[in-house]
């Protein structure tokens, strides 16, 4: 295999890893605060894809918003940027609200129940959401309109990098930087960290626990929603069960990086995406899932806390 192919596979892997990382942030954020794995998170990703699709369709439908508006959105670079800012923001906000609503009705009543209960509840929510979309929206895959032109930004030898790949990478890194600063520098971020250390003690110190948990359930799903829109744009379609495989992989990424650790989720996402692409390229496409989950097992054996996770001392 030539060097070009290796570099191209790295580009593929980094893009895929960026998507995994965005979703993994949601798993890890919720786990950090609630010590709970939100199995409905893969459906937040799916919901983001659908919200993005419908908003995009509505905004480019001349009968709804007028020919002038559509012309503005699709006419130039500035219009496209505004259009996609609206699409991404609405996906993030609506899916974030969905996350908060789910927390309120499916998880909060179980907050003091055994830890298995919210987990089962999350699986129930996941099945419910998938079937809701299946029955009320469509069981078929829906094509995602290619409104945004994808241009080749970089081409050298056999390696090409397009604008969408760069957009995914840059957005992921910016969102991580923002989230990292938010959690470590702001007052509410401090409240989040306190809650994650000891929920009851944080409550006694005057922190509004419900607000903190609600915020985690807004930000996590919002990031998943953004990843869903990217998935739709990158692969060109959305489907009600599109969340399952990326959800599993991103959960794996969060565990590899050290669940509960934001930078770990990001690292895990990229590690997984890159290794998967290399495995598909140099072994066989059929082996990529084998490699992904073999890495998970290896990490769990040799570093049970994950690559960047802290080793937790068992309290007696």
């Amino acid at each position: 295999m030539s060097g070009d192919v290796i570099v191209q596979q790295l580009v593929n892997g980094i893009t895929l890893g960026g998507l995994y990382a965005l979703i993994a942030l949601g798993y890890t954020l919720v786990y950090g605060i609630m010590l709970m794995i939100n199995f409905a998170h893969s459906e937040m990703f799916m919901a983001g894809g659908y919200v993005g699709l419908f908003v995009l369709k509505a905004l480019t439908n001349e009968a709804w918003v007028g020919a002038g508006t559509v012309g503005f959105f699709t006419g130039g670079v500035f219009g496209l940027i505004v259009l996609f800012l609206i699409v991404f923001l609405s996906a993030a906000i609506l899916v974030g609200i969905l996350g908060v609503v789910i927390e309120r009705f499916a998880y909060r009543p179980l907050r003091h129940a055994p830890r298995l209960a919210p987990l089962i509840s999350a699986i129930g929510v996941s099945i419910f959401l998938q079937n809701a979309v299946l029955l009320w929206v469509d069981s078929k895959a829906l094509p995602f309109p290619a409104v945004m032109p994808v241009v080749t930004v970089f081409k050298a030898g056999g390696v090409t990098v397009n604008s969408l790949q760069i957009l995914i990478l840059v957005t992921t890194l910016l969102l991580l930087a923002f989230l990292d600063t938010f959690v470590s520098k702001t007052r509410i971020g401090k409240a989040m960290r306190a809650t994650s250390q000891d929920r009851d003690a944080a409550g006694l110190m005057g922190i509004d626990i419900n607000q903190v948990i609600g915020l985690a359930f807004f930000i996590g799903p919002a990031l998943g929603g953004i990843a869903g829109v990217f998935h739709g744009m990158y692969y060109g379609s959305v489907k009600f069960d599109m969340g399952f495989l990326p959800g599993m992989k991103s959960f794996t990424a969060a565990v590899i990086g050290g669940i509960g650790n934001l930078r770990g989720a990001m690292l895990g996402g990229f590690v997984l995406g890159i290794l998967e692409s290399l495995a598909a390229g140099f072994l066989s496409a059929g082996y990529k899932d084998v490699v992904a989950f073999a890495i998970l097992i290896l990490v769990l054996i040799f570093r049970p806390g994950g690559l960047l996770g802290e080793s937790v001392v068992e309290k007696v």
């Binding site: 295999m1 069981s139 094509p143 060109g236 496409a285 059929g286």
Partner: protein, 403 residues
């Protein structure tokens, strides 16, 4: 403590119930049964097993339409009324999944009035389901399962009206090498019995013809990311990429190939032969892609025009999908057999074990002119009609390929 535990148990029960509801449900849509004159008519049920909510839904819905059309026409038929029978259809949603398919099959055979099944679509579903039907002597006529092994398990109740992959795969290879002049191919499948069988047969014949198979890879039928594979394909620069699988993933592969600048067309079997393929891949990526499908194009067949007219009257605004006509023929095969048995043994005996066995024998002896051509079965239960047509995407639609 106890109340907490009770709540937990209740929750698990609710989730379990929910899971049951969403996975195994077979939806009932009774058509026909317009008991106009014959009050004492014996109800004879025909099961329609197809993916209706998940999997290749566009093809599955078409199967349901085709079979229901045949059944409602039969109920209008004076000969059927005279025999004292009335047909009812029962749809079972197999979701393109073998486990769900077996659940549907068990639901079908638990109804003693059900004498035959028109289905299923996916070979991976048809094969395990056929064993369930065999135990209850229920005849199964598949309009679409093309994996050769379906009819080679020694089950006397299993038939199909479509041509098998060991005909379709090689035919695709011959077209690719001889008619289209492709000398090298990269072969991919989706790891299902259908996709693997088709891709294997293609690769074998393509190599035998003198073509070069530059790569052979497996993917998953629910995969959406093929970029790593596409990069590999690009570096090997084949003349054509052959995909054994269904349109859902095939379309994404075609789109990603085209996005990466691979100019080689994608080629596949009947699983790609649906308008959804073009919608999902996008016009630009799909243009020039190829697929083979069983039989002649409908408009080239003598009974095609009648079928088209009846279809458009029954389902205004719907397009005829790949298996609508085959499902119509498959349902008619069962209907004709039921009519014969009702005439020989009397309407009351049709739904007995004796009747069901007679129906299997009658289906085996089928010799009728269907919409898709002459319908007759060989000793295995495979159709004797082995025509394959090559289609290509031209101006955003599948059209029969003309050199």
């Amino acid at each position: 403590m106890t109340s907490k535990r009770r709540r937990f148990v209740a929750l698990v029960a609710v989730v379990a119930a929910l899971a049951l509801v969403v996975t195994g449900c077979a939806s009932k849509t009774d058509t026909g049964g317009t008991d106009g004159g014959a009050k004492e008519a014996t109800v004879v049920k025909i099961g329609i097993g197809a993916p209706l909510t998940q999997g290749a839904v566009a093809l599955g819905k078409g199967m349901e339409r085709g079979a229901n059309l045949a059944i409602s026409q039969a109920n209008e038929d004076a000969a059927v009324k005279d025999l004292g029978i009335t047909f009812e259809s029962v749809s079972g949603d197999d979701q393109g999944d073998p486990k769900t398919g077996v659940t549907v099959a068990n639901q079908f055979v638990s109804d003693s009035k059900l004498v035959g099944v028109m289905g299923h679509l996916n070979s991976g579903v048809s094969i395990p389901a056929s064993k369930v039907y065999n135990q209850s002597s229920v005849v199964m006529v598949s309009p679409a399962s093309t994996n050769p092994s379906l009819t080679q398990n020694g089950l006397d109740n299993v038939f199909r009206v479509c041509t098998i992959d060991s005909v379709q795969g090689p035919s695709g290879a011959d077209s690719a090498f001889k008619d289209l002049g492709f000398t090298s191919a990269f072969v991919v499948d989706d790891s299902t019995p259908y996709g693997t069988g088709l891709a294997d047969e293609f690769a074998k014949q393509f190599a035998a013809d003198g073509g070069k198979v530059v790569g052979r890879e497996k993917t998953g039928d629910k995969d959406s990311d093929f970029n790593a594979l596409v990069t590999k394909i690009k570096s090997l620069n084949p003349a054509v990429v052959y995909y054994g699988g269904i349109y859902n993933s095939g379309a994404l592969l075609s789109k990603q190939l085209s996005d990466a600048g691979v100019t080689a067309p994608l080629m596949g079997g009947d699983g790609l032969y649906d308008g959804e393929y073009i919608k999902l891949a996008g016009d630009a990526a799909a243009e020039g892609d190829f697929c083979t499908s069983v039989g002649y194009p409908i408009d080239q067949l003598p009974k095609g025009a009648d079928f088209k007219a009846a279809f458009e009257a029954a389902y205004p605004g719907e397009a005829i999908a790949a298996y609508d006509a085959y499902s119509y023929d498959a349902a008619n095969v069962i209907i004709e057999a039921v009519k014969k048995v009702a005439a020989d043994l009397g309407a009351a005996k049709v739904t007995t074990l004796e009747g069901k066995k007679a129906i299997i024998a009658a289906v085996a002896a089928t010799n009728m002119e269907g919409v898709t051509g002459a319908v007759a079965f060989d000793a295995n239960g495979d159709t004797t009609n082995k025509v394959i047509t090559l289609y290509t995407v031209k101006a955003g639609a599948w059209t029969a390929y003309v050199k």
